[in-house]
């Protein structure tokens, strides 16, 4: 736009609209630059998570790595402590026991699926990025579930804790495993045992902490027993209280897992422990003969045989561990309905809870002890023990378990230790067969066996117990509050088998089926041979310790 001045000189007068447009363009440019700067800042911050930024400097102690792994596994191990608030959720949502049980089942299912799907991504991106993602998912899962509980929307709990939290579980579970194997090529069993022990320990930590938090945020109510008196062994908390606990756990777990994120480091290419000579490994099995990619691993029969081994070991163990509390009560119930576990009938549930704690200790201890022992015995021998001795233990429980509390407790404790040992020894078994190249991804794919067992184990034992309970007649009990007789049936309206109806003989078929399940795994383990060399990667693989071998 032009205009004339008094001097008749043509001068350019700025168009106000153009000025506005120019200002807008400037603002847009500034915003764009800010966005770019923000993106770059974010990328720079996130690049901290990259594998190349987590390579250990010279002199870095490998003993800093297990605590990082433990920090993640201790948090995600909370998944085994869901029973603490299960009854509260059943009451708060007015849902069946099965509906609430699906939250746990969904989380375990997602664990297997996500570890299988994201295994290669974890191996390629390194443990720090994987741990960070796991922390975000696990924490977000709690926060979403917290909102779901507060607002009475069960689907949000499925989505949050089950799906998103389950993805965090899967990624978190496998994220430090391959790194630990690479830091401890001389003791892969010890290394994975330390981390996976944390998964077992996570429930030991979470159970008392959640109990304390529930008591801190709210007050428990107790449901009435059939005789009308309050059942003091069952604590029910309202939705607001449980929601606050989930919120707290989500925040605390995120912070704790960040310690693992900031501490974990991968060994530099070519690194090996001082004095380590792969040719002088403790056992022949522990000597890696070749490196196999995850895609090639699933073309080998060894992968499927080991999948069956893990499936059978977990199916048998999970079936007994999930029912530990009612099982000990049912095994030691006298003909008149009284318990031979304790002279005080009020203490039966407390003694049973003690038994659950006892086998949890063996589950956790087995993860460390058996996996460490596998460095000396060899993985195959370890699984021969888990499955072979496990068969004997299940047979004794089935036939003589009810005759002696000592025999029963000892056998179940040994089974629990084999269950834990099976989890922690399998990464080292994979490392022996396939090398360290993509062991995390292969481990992730193998964990689908865990998800399958998570469905199969309870399905077998609960199906048989439900069938046994349904065949029993209802009982008439005097309600001391209303002074009326009430009828109590073996299966209540939530589908739960009511305590007091089953006995040891009702478990016999399930226990003998587990002997058969373990026998299948035993044979599968015996069939495992070293992987055919045609599946080995040609030439050195570009990965940490491997490239030096």
């Amino acid at each position: 736009m032009a205009g004339r001045t008094h001097a008749g000189v043509l001068r350019v007068r700025p168009d106000p609209r153009a000025h506005v447009a120019s200002r807008r363009a400037d603002v847009n440019l500034t915003i764009s630059l800010s966005n770019i700067a923000l993106k770059e800042a974010c990328m720079a911050a996130l690049s901290f998570l990259d594998r190349q930024h987590s390579i250990a400097p010279p002199g870095y102690s490998r003993w800093l790595v297990p605590p990082a792994a433990l920090a993640v596994h201790l948090c995600i191990g909370q998944v085994y402590a869901t029973s603490v608030y299960k009854t509260s959720l059943i009451t708060d949502f007015g849902a069946s026991e099965k509906s609430i049980g699906y939250i746990f089942s969904l989380a375990i299912l997602m664990l297997g699926l996500s570890s299988a799907v994201f295994g290669k991504w974890v191996d390629l991106g390194g443990p720090r990025r994987a741990m960070f993602t796991a922390a975000c998912c696990w924490s977000a899962g709690f926060l979403i579930a917290s909102f779901g509980i507060k607002s009475g929307q069960l689907w949000l709990v499925y989505l949050g804790y089950g799906v998103i939290g389950g993805i965090g579980l899967g990624i978190g579970y496998i994220s430090p495993v391959s790194t630990l194997i690479k830091w401890f090529p001389d003791r892969p069993g010890l290394a994975t045992g330390m981390a996976i022990m944390g998964f077992g320990g996570g429930a030991l930590v979470a159970s008392p902490v959640i109990t304390k938090l529930l008591g801190h945020y709210g007050t428990a109510t107790h449901p009435p027993k059939p005789d009308g008196t309050p059942n003091l062994t069952v604590n029910i908390f309202d939705a607001t209280t449980v929601s606050k606990v989930f919120l707290t756990l989500g925040i605390v777990y995120f912070i704790f897992m960040m310690f693992g994120v900031f501490t974990i480091k991968v060994p530099a290419p070519g690194w090996a422990p001082a004095g380590y000579d792969p040719s002088k490994a403790h056992t022949k099995a522990a000597r890696v003969t070749g490196q196999v990619s995850a895609d090639n691993a699933i073309k080998t029969p060894q992968f499927y045989l080991l999948w069956i081994v893990l499936l059978c070991n977990v199916t048998a163990g999970i079936g007994i561990l999930e029912n530990a509390s009612p099982m000990i009560q049912d095994f030691f119930r006298n003909a008149d309905g009284s318990s031979s576990l304790t002279t005080n009938p009020k203490n039966v549930a407390i003694v049973a809870a003690g038994f659950v704690g006892f086998i949890s200790l063996f589950n956790m201890g087995g993860r460390f002890a058996w996996s460490t022992a596998s460095d000396y015995l060899g993985r195959k021998v370890n699984y021969i023990i888990y499955l072979g001795v496990g068969m004997i233990m299940f047979f004794i429980v089935a036939t003589s378990g009810h005759k002696s509390t000592f025999i029963f407790i000892a056998c179940v404790a040994v089974i629990a230790s084999f269950y834990g040992g099976g989890f922690s020894t399998v990464p080292a078994y994979l490392r022996d067969l396939y090398g360290t190249y993509q062991v995390g991804a292969i481990h992730g794919r193998l964990l689908t066996a865990w998800s399958t067992a998570g469905v199969l184990g309870p399905l077998i034992i609960n199906g048989l117990l439900d069938h046994a309970a349904e065949g029993k007649p209802c009982k008439s009990v005097l309600n001391t509050v209303t002074n009326k007789q009430v009828e109590v049936c073996p299966v209540d309206k939530t589908g739960h088998v009511v305590a007091g109806f089953l006995n040891a003989s009702d478990y016999r078929t399930a226990m003998l089926i587990m002997v058969g399940v373990l026998a299948v795994g035993f044979v599968a383990n015996l069939l495992i041979r070293p992987v055919n060399a045609k599946f080995h990667e040609v030439g050195p693989v570009k990965d940490a310790v491997d490239s030096a071998h």
Binding site: L204, S207, P208, G270, A274, L341, V356
Partner: protein, 45 residues
């Protein structure tokens, strides 16, 4: 094949102790609480 530094860097020792303490303290608490519950199994509640 390169080797790990023959001796752990002295500066790492406090960090190792702190790191292990951070994970073993909660684990120890969980173990203690579990052992308290387990004792009921052997004392009859």
């Amino acid at each position: 094949m390169s080797s790990e530094h023959p001796h752990v860097d002295v500066n790492h020792v406090p960090r190792i102790v702190l790191s292990w303490a951070l994970v073993t303290i909660p684990l120890g608490y969980g173990l203690f609480q579990t052992l308290k519950a387990v004792s009921k199994l052997f004392t009859g509640g």
